[in-house]
Amino acid sequence: MVAGTQIRFAGSAFAIFVLAQVPIAAYMLNGGPGSGKMLLIAICAITVLVGHLSTPIRAQIASHRILGPLVWAVLLGLIAYLTMALHEPRTLGSELSLRLAMGVSVLCLLLDRVSGFLSAMVSEPVALSATLLLLVVASAGPLWIGPWAQILAAQEHVPDAIIAASPLTYLAVLAEHDYLRSQWFYQNTPFGGMRYTYPDALILSTVYILLGVLFWAGESLKRRR
């Protein structure tokens, strides 16, 4: 990657870092936990969202189809790591924040590859919007499934599948945090009163990485035709 690209990358990453503080501040001002693992999960989730929205910037700066997304994903992980340290200084250097930062990178890379795959079939703005919609719907699964949760709970493993499909769950298992029983989720989803099992963090990470590779391969095939 040439020096100019590196500088533009770094500059854009810094801008994203600064921009990400705005929704994080809004989250905390609106009563979100000001400390603890839920705050770290929220920081990581917001970073993933901001990172996805910044994909066009990344594409402009580095059009290299392999290195570009990889480096951007790592930078977003670093942004999450620094933001966590900013708001929770005691997490600096901890295994917890490193795991979460890695999780941010994995999620951002997967989202980048999903939108890349879709953009081989539709325009980039549509691909980005569709990926964003997918992210929001999957993350909010435990919420919108609410009215049907008790019915679905009668089917073994269905609640576990709904929970596993949410990227928020991925961040939560990396943090070893039972987020569905935190105050807001307990009051707004039915899962707090149900029996469920969180997926294994290593298995989820592997699945996300493999999915990213599959979407990448799919995009390459489509662009060759």
Binding site: S35, E176, D178, R181, P190, G193
Partner: protein, 361 residues
């Protein structure tokens, strides 16, 4: 002379009543036919539990459910122990196989408090000193879960002194109760700071403005799930939490004549029923209520309860009759309202048996 004999006999009876109210109440207050039926119902329930036991000795591969089912057997009128065989020893081994380095006894990150608390309670009830290390580790884990300065909370915070599920920091009265029961059963020193901190959270969960410094507190004397929230809506008091709140106060060393305890007991009297969990939606948490009812009534020590209409109730008879009526043909109990795992037969059956165990004591 006759008067002297009568006086001496009365003194003996009164002193016996004051020193051992539970023994007197159980054997002389409960309808004996009902007591026999309750014991038979217990036997049927225990038979169901043995049939549902997994190969590894657990129930549903859950430490918490296993510990509660084990407790149901250990505390039953049969007085089961490890000497009685594998249906006792294997669940104990399953529990011990889930002891973790941090002292928790759990198979998952969620329910760490509930699992550890019920596990060390069951291990303590086994009476085997070989489990002392596991119990002590569990005690230390539960104490560390309590929300206090260690987690960055000061005494003014509504969470302070509470204990939650153990997978996140949100405390609630139900989880705090399980932890306090475990700590009390396993002999934690009454001077340990955990009790006074717990009392702060208990006060903030009671609808009693004289002792609750939270603005939302009403004044019916009952308890809600956690400061400022009831899963049945608003901040209302309901049966399950009022009973565990009352026991929690007693665990924390509050005298039964304290206004807080009396206010909770008055709420229980005013809302006395065994047809539902008073204050709850539908029949949610019904068997949790029955278990909490049995424990709190036993701990409070009054064999008769006068309800809000002035009618007297023998709580032992009422509870036993209700549970016998609800028992299924297979010996099990289950709640048609499955919230809070009450659709799981082994768990609900174990809870019902524990409630019956207290009623026949």
């Amino acid at each position: 002379m006759k008067f002297l004999v009568k006086t001496i006999l009365a003194a003996i009876l009164i002193s016996t009543a004051l020193t051992a109210p539970e023994v007197v109440a159980a054997e002389s207050v409960m309808d004996q036919d009902l007591r026999s039926k309750a014991k038979r119902a217990t036997d049927e329930g225990l038979r169901f539990l043995r049939e549902e036991q997994e190969e590894n000795g657990s129930w549903m591969n859950s430490v918490g459910i296993t510990a509660i089912a084990l407790r149901a057997s250990l505390e039953s009128h049969r007085g089961y122990s490890e000497a009685d065989g594998a249906f006792i020893t294997r669940p104990i081994q399953f529990i011990l196989s889930n002891v973790n380095e941090d002292g928790s006894i759990t198979e998952s990150i969620q329910n760490r408090n509930y699992n550890t608390a019920t596990a060390i309670t069951a291990l303590q009830l086994s009476g085997n000193p070989a489990y002392a290390d596991a119990i002590e580790g569990g005690q230390n884990f539960l104490k560390a879960l309590q929300i206090d300065e260690g987690e960055g909370y000061d005494p003014d915070h509504p969470y302070y002194g509470g204990i939650g599920y153990g997978g996140d920091e949100r405390p609630d009265l139900s989880n705090q109760y399980y932890a306090l029961e475990a700590l009390s059963t396993t002999g934690l020193d009454s001077g340990d700071p955990v009790w006074q901190k717990a009392l702060i959270f208990l006060n903030r969960s009671q609808n009693r403005s004289e002792s609750n410094d939270q603005a939302w507190a009403a004044n019916d004397g009952g308890f809600t799930y956690m400061p400022g929230y009831s899963p049945h809506g608003g901040t209302g008091s309901y049966g399950g939490m009022t009973h565990v709140g009352l026991i929690g106060l007693l665990f924390a060393g509050v005298d039964r004549n304290d206004p807080r305890v009396q206010a909770a007991y008055d709420w229980i009297r005013e809302n006395y029923t065994l047809d539902r969990n008073p204050g709850s939606k539908d029949q949610q948490g019904l068997y949790y209520y029955y278990t909490a009812f049995a424990k709190s009534m036993f701990a409070f020590g009054e064999p008769m309860v006068t309800d809000g209409d002035g009618a007297e109730h023998n709580w032992r008879n009422d509870l036993a009759a209700k549970l016998i009526a609800l028992q299924g043909d297979d010996g099990a109990w289950v709640n048609d309202q499955p919230r809070w795992w009450e659709g799981l037969k082994p768990l609900v059956t174990a809870r019902a048996i524990i409630a019956l165990n207290f009623s026949v004591r």
